[in-house]
Symmetry: C2
DNA sequence: CTAATTCCGAGTGCGTTAGTAGGATATAGA
DNA sequence: TCTATATCCTACTAACGCACTCGGAATTAG
């Protein structure tokens, strides 16, 4: 129940790839698609929306490609997901940003509080993460411990907990 | 994005109707459907699952119908929604109760923490509400204020906030 | 006996999802 | 200038899931 579509998944993974590549010039769709093993033509569709939303910049022609418009720490996951999947809306009558009454029962329908709660907690979950939280910090890729090389994901997870407030 | 289907909506509204009727004997599907303005034949499908899950009891034949198997305060919204819509799973690779690896990227895919966060916060939102929180308390229906009769929904909303801890 | 019910499985139309296909435009490097 | 590599844009489509409906069997109160 209550599942994201592949738009959100693929799109977020694409953004993560761009975040890892941030600062190193534009990255082409072909590269991204190969890194993430995703259909390039489909990603093209998704990246169009991200560009229009001002989350990525593009460069035409040979050696062109895409790059994040802002540093990873200044792009929240919520922002990305809203562009890819639209407003958070566990039920039509509880859509983010919509004030219109769509159902004549809405005013007295107590089920509404359920959808609103879910909506707000999903929003909270997504808005409290930035792209930077999702990618392994640069340093960690060369850090070693006494017994073994640290694997990237082991470092990344705690980082998502101990993050500071976003100031976008 | 991330929307519940009508199964969840209709099913929950049906349960709410049963909760309001709790203690007054079985209620037939025809009645429920009329109260909530929902297609009876579709509700039939949904109530089947709720019965198998032990959330409602049924009585065959004339003057038969359905009733909650437990008092409203002892049925959480999460329990109801999981029966109607399946396990909470914003993404296949982050399904409640599933430990199986479905994607070879799962172990190192940092997008996973996003889906898990969303999953857990949805679960929290649903599990912290009981059916009793969704229906206006009995007393309120006869309470009057100095200027006017209190309407039921006005009483119901604050009640959902000031609830005590569930002990299921 | 009859009317009102639950119970069960199969079937169906429609909208959304997850893509593909094709072509126009822009740019770096030879 | 030419070519290869890109973005950009719109249209198309196959498959799937959702939201139901339908028909009929079994059960029970009056």
């Amino acid at each position: 129940m209550i599942r994201f579509s592949t738009r959100g998944e693929y799109g977020l993974r694409m953004m993560m790839d761009l975040a890892r590549h941030y600062g190193a010039g534009p990255e082409s769709l072909t590269e991204i698609a190969r890194h993430e093993a995703l259909p390039p033509a489909y990603l093209e569709q998704l990246v169009g929306g991200l560009r229009k939303a001002g989350l990525v910049n593009s460069r035409h022609g040979a050696h062109g490609g895409y790059e994040l418009a802002r540093p990873p720490a200044q792009i929240s996951v919520g922002e990305v997901m809203r562009v890819l999947e639209g407003p958070i809306s566990p039920m039509v009558c509880a859509t983010e940003g919509e004030s219109e009454i769509l159902c004549e029962r809405q005013t007295f329908c107590s089920a509404n509080v359920v959808w609103e709660r879910v909506r707000d907690s999903v929003a909270q979950a997504l808005d409290s993460l930035t792209m930077a939280d999702l990618i392994p910090p640069r340093e960690s890729q060369i850090i070693r411990r006494d017994h073994d090389t640290i694997n990237v994901q082991a470092v990344a997870s705690p980082a998502t907990e101990g993050r500071k407030a976003t100031r976008v």
